[in-house]
């Protein structure tokens, strides 16, 4: 419904935009709306097929995000084997652990065992210059793109008394995060004056931040009935999600800035890559997962 309206508005705007910059802004908006349609379709299929669909979907998202991350990261030839481990062993294993609902190992596999594996694999490769930097970069990529993201489908393995439709929790998380992104963008465009961190991202303003967080949290509150939360709890959790999401967006912007992303930013036509889409989800997913697990499971 919302998307139909948004598409309509986007179409009308594209007809009315006169100036060059207005046209660019509208084209950008329409690209985002199109991306949304695709995301909704994919998401519906994933939820509809139950747990497995979601796990596979998020595993693919992790791989795509990791691919972008590693492309930007300054890795060396000697890191090749380590990267193979990261892509083809660690990532599938993390999602497999969600599939078999082994929470204990899921929670420590990447922070502990992949941490060790990456370091050891890089030692075996035998290059010592900038060892710490290279090792940390790869582990960071795994933490952000795989470990953090995997906490979204991990919601499916929570046992919440009196609540069975965990897929809706996943939808709640993704919806609030993504709507917050869009609303922060919209509020920023409309009222944005004071940038939060001008060096990192001139587009993120306090006005956009406040408006986005507040309205997205109200949207989250409005759909409390689909969750195991009361309206007040839904609001509080939405605020936590959107704050974490905002932090995630800022951090990922900083990395892109550092790597001079323009080189590879052009790689994916139109609206950035997977990492640009899910940067807020990276930080919001673990926060939401653990808050829900701590307060709502026995």
């Amino acid at each position: 419904m919302l998307l139909v309206v948004a598409s309509g508005v986007g179409f009308v705007l594209s007809r009315r935009a006169r100036t060059e910059s207005a046209r660019a802004a509208v084209a950008n908006l329409n690209a985002r709306i199109r991306a949304w349609w695709i995301m909704v379709a994919v998401f519906a299929i994933a939820v509809w097929t139950g747990g497995i669909g979601s796990i596979v979907l998020f595993a693919l998202m992790s791989l795509l995000a990791l691919r972008e991350f590693v492309t930007l990261a300054p890795t060396h030839r000697e890191d090749h084997r380590t990267l193979l481990w990261a892509f083809f062993a660690v990532t599938p294993l993390q999602y497999y652990l969600i599939g078999i609902r082994w929470y204990g190992l899921f929670a420590i596999m990447i922070p502990v065992y992949a941490f060790v594996l990456v370091a050891v694999s890089n030692v075996i490769a035998g290059r010592t210059d900038r060892f710490l930097e290279r090792t940390a970069t790869i582990h960071w990529g795994l933490m952000v793109c795989v470990y953090c993201v995997s906490h979204a489908p991990a919601l499916l393995m929570l046992d919440i008394p009196g609540y069975r439709t965990n897929a809706k929790l996943l939808v709640f998380l993704v919806l609030v995060v993504q709507i917050s992104d869009v609303l922060q963008y919209v509020f920023g465009k409309l009222f944005g004056k004071h940038p939060v961190a001008p060096v990192i991202s001139p587009n993120k303003t306090w006005e956009g931040f406040g408006g986005g967080v507040l309205t997205a949290s109200l949207v989250g509150t409005a759909i409390w009935w689909a969750t195991p939360f009361t309206p007040v709890q839904a609001f509080a959790l939405s605020v936590a999600i959107t704050l974490a999401g905002f932090a995630g967006g800022l951090v990922m912007s900083a990395i892109k800035r550092d790597r001079g992303v323009k080189d590879y930013g052009a790689l994916i036509a139109g609206h950035g890559g997977m990492l640009d889409r899910i940067d807020s989800l990276c930080f919001a997913a673990p926060v939401f997962f653990h808050l829900t697990r701590y307060y709502f499971t026995p």
């Binding site: 193979l84 892509f87 994916i268 036509a269």
Partner: protein, 202 residues
């Protein structure tokens, strides 16, 4: 069919986005020449070409590598229809013969893909070109050349590794060029090499 599958797989693994500095390639006879850092280079460049162009494009490859094993032989003969040449030929007469055969195999319709550095480099520098490109242009006056920069391939599949890390890459087709009449060999080869190097900065 198999060619299509291989092209799709190559695009998936290399995550290649393709850029053209000139009009997109068509079926006219040309020489595509690129920097060489990875075993993936040829197949990624080949898969970046439009399907209808691809069937008129043949790689020039080393005989000693591609005649080893049934799979390689099948791929080079049936799928890529490679023109296999002997590496490191000693005498001038042999080199002459290689160029003659290349020109003959190209007829008047096949384009070719060559890596004039002759061997895979580390990715930091483009090695000086071997002279085959020059002799081929003398053999076929007016032949159009397309410089191609393959970006990031050495990180996806470096020398000596078996499995690719699926990073993203770029294939940049530069502006068409041709050897000028009477252009000296070193000047021409250096100009061709510079044409690739220039694409690298984009």
């Amino acid at each position: 069919m198999i060619a299509g599958l291989i092209a799709s797989a190559a695009r998936l693994v290399s995550g290649a986005s393709v850029f053209y500095r000139d009009e997109p390639p068509d079926e006219r006879q040309r020489v595509y020449f690129a920097n060489h850092t990875s075993h993936l280079d040829f197949v990624v460049l080949w898969s970046a070409l439009p399907g209808n162009v691809r069937q008129f494009v043949r790689p020039v490859a080393a005989r000693d590598y591609w005649e080893k094993g049934a799979l390689r032989r099948y791929l080079s003969e049936k799928v890529f229809r490679a023109i296999l040449i002997d590496r490191g030929v000693g005498s001038v007469a042999d080199a002459r013969g290689t160029i003659d055969r290349l020109a003959a195999e190209m007829e008047n319709r096949y384009s070719i893909i060559v890596f004039p550095e002759g061997t895979r480099g580390s990715g930091e520098e483009i090695a000086p070109f071997k002279s085959g490109l020059y002799h081929l242009c003398r053999e076929k006056p007016g032949l159009e050349l397309v410089p191609v920069w393959l970006d990031n391939m050495n990180r996806i599949l470096p020398k000596g590794e078996l499995l690719p890390v699926p990073m993203l890459s770029r294939v940049i087709f530069g502006r068409r060029m041709a050897m000028e009449h009477g252009e000296p060999k070193p000047a021409f080869l250096e100009r061709a090499r510079a044409a690739i190097r220039e694409l690298r900065g984009l």
